[in-house]
């Protein structure tokens, strides 16, 4: 699973003067305007912004699911997207969902099922391989989605509010596991959230997006040592600062 580091490629994600507009009636709706950002290989960057700030659009463009109107968005390496809903295929078991990602990469059986079981073990789902998505809790589904992302041999995870629908305890646990996978696999992660504390807990940097049109309005480097606790006062101070910024941006944008 491990990747050979290509030292020549310092950046995993690069976005340059990116603009995306959608036709809306007879007008254009500008989702992103002149966004530039770079994410270094192995970096964990969080994006916070109000709804309508084009965060999800940014991820779609980086994943190559949409074409930019102007500028460019580029991701080096294999990209996997993780959404708020786990978006598992409901007719496949947990193992089947992971195996499909492997199959589409050309991995053959029996190797396929061996790797799938190993990946599910790594996200602590051993014993649940034969369950179907509707038989799993929300947290378990997101773990399957994580295992599936690893099965895609992803270097880059683009995560769109992945834990927003989970309860606090499950979310806290998944934070820990995500950070573990991040360091073990040398992943690069761009993590969209509207929760400033979540962003500060996870990210090396936090980007605050303005809304309508979306732009990077502000950037905060998080120097807190890891592991970080959601309850730490230092974290709360930085998160408070970001929330203030966010309110300011929303005031301007809205």
């Amino acid at each position: 699973m491990s990747k050979v580091l290509e030292l020549s490629e310092k950046h995993s994600l690069s976005v340059e003067a990116l603009t995306k507009a959608y036709p809306h009636g007879d007008r254009l709706l500008v989702a992103l305007q002149g966004v530039s950002l770079e994410v270094k290989r192995g970096e964990f960057v969080c994006v916070v912004g109000a709804s309508g700030s084009g965060k999800s659009t940014l991820l779609n463009l980086l994943a190559g699911l949409e074409e930019p109107t102007r500028g460019r968005a580029h991701a080096h390496g294999h990209v996997a997207l993780i959404f708020q809903e786990a978006a598992l295929l409901p007719w496949l078991t947990a193992a089947g969902n992971v195996e499909l990602a492997l199959e589409l990469r050309g991995v053959r059986n029996p190797e396929r099922s061996r790797i799938a079981n190993e990946l599910l073990r790594r996200v602590h789902l051993d014993g649940f391989e034969r369950r179907r998505p509707h038989e799993l809790s929300g947290g378990m589904k997101q773990r399957v989605a994580l295992a599936r992302a690893l099965a895609q041999d992803a270097d880059v995870l683009l995560m769109d509010e992945p834990f927003a629908a989970l309860d606090a305890i499950t979310r806290d646990r998944l934070h820990e596991e995500l950070l573990k996978l991040w360091s073990q696999h040398g992943l690069t992660i761009l993590f969209v959230t509207h929760n400033a504390r979540e962003a500060v807990r996870l990210g090396d940097r936090v980007l605050v997006f303005t809304s309508r049109p979306g732009r990077v309005g502000h950037e905060v480097a998080i120097d807190l040592p890891r592991p970080r606790s959601l309850d730490s006062p230092d974290l709360a101070v930085i998160a408070g600062h970001i929330t203030e910024r966010l309110k300011l941006e929303m005031g301007i944008g809205g």
């Binding site: 996997a80 997207l81 978006a87 295929l89 409901p90 179907r132 038989e135 895609q152 499950t170 646990r173």
Partner: protein, 284 residues
């Protein structure tokens, strides 16, 4: 903390389990008894009507002589020959309808131009009683099996195509995005994501298609006699000509039973798919 959370998640699952444990046996019986009662009521009303003398016994036979006729038929080679002919036609015509309906459905779903051109025509065909095609089919094919097949096909194929179409239309966009990110494009996206996601709706279309096929076939057989053996429809027509109402009703019972038996098969298939796809909502 981590152990506690794991336990909570496991418990969530355990709490869902009891709904399923005693279900199968209970469900079999609870599914059966309303049907038994319905049959008893129907036979009861029929018997009372026969007793009332509202119509003479040779026009409105009581249940008992009809069942005797039915059992008599069941020991007759001619009856089976006719039944076999009708079933062969049903399977063949329905099979062709499935192939054509599926092909048209996939093609129309894949192409925007075909969609606008043919999509509404398919829906229109569905609302047209297929037996209305019969006079035209007779002029085209004379009194042949081809005429019957045409009518059955026109009855069944549109339902099958539109079941598939609406299934493809209602695939969650998120699943398609996931499939594309995983590297499935074109046909592979169809095979691994879109078609399985559309399957419940497709089976619904197959079921409706069968219902239309069976009706159209009976209508067609009533109207034309083709082949060396009298089909079920022709046996029905013969019984009417002979004013043999016992035989008539006995055949109707056979036709009815075949219809609901196949329907029950589709129902079971439909339930199994919904269960697997997690669409039954029992976990709520």
């Amino acid at each position: 903390m981590a152990e506690l959370a794991a336990e909570l998640e496991t418990r969530d699952l355990a709490e869902e389990a009891p709904h399923r444990i005693h279900a199968p046996k209970f469900r079999a019986w609870s599914g059966l008894w309303p049907k038994v009662v319905a049959v008893l009521i129907a036979v009861g009303v029929w018997q009372v009507a026969a007793w009332s003398g509202w119509r003479p016994a040779n026009v409105l036979p009581a249940p008992l002589p009809v069942f005797q006729t039915l059992f008599g038929d069941l020991s007759h080679a001619d009856f089976y020959a006719g039944l076999a002919m009708t079933l062969r036609r049903a399977v063949l015509a329905y099979g062709i309808a499935v192939v054509i309906g599926t092909l048209v459905g996939v093609l129309v779903a894949r192409s925007t131009i075909l969609r606008t051109a043919i999509g509404s025509a398919i829906l229109g065909l569905q609302s047209m009683p297929s037996i209305a095609w019969f006079p035209l089919a007779l002029l085209f094919f004379q009194r042949s099996e081809a005429a019957i097949f045409t009518v059955v096909l026109l009855g069944a194929a549109p339902s099958i195509a539109s079941g598939l179409l609406s299934g493809v239309d209602h695939v969650e966009p998120l699943l398609i995005r996931v499939g594309r990110v995983m590297g499935a494009r074109g046909l592979r996206l169809y095979r691994h994501v879109i078609l399985p996601a559309a399957l419940p709706s497709f089976v619904g279309g197959l079921k409706q298609g069968w219902a239309f096929a069976w009706r159209s076939l009976m209508a067609g057989e009533l109207i034309v006699a083709v082949g060396s053996q009298p089909s079920l429809g022709q046996q029905l027509r013969a019984a009417q000509n002979l004013a043999d109402t016992s035989q008539l009703v006995a055949l109707m019972i056979v036709i009815f039973i075949i219809g609901i038996a196949v329907d029950a098969l589709f129902g079971a298939l439909d339930r199994e798919i919904r269960r697997r796809w997690g669409l039954l909502g029992t976990e709520a």
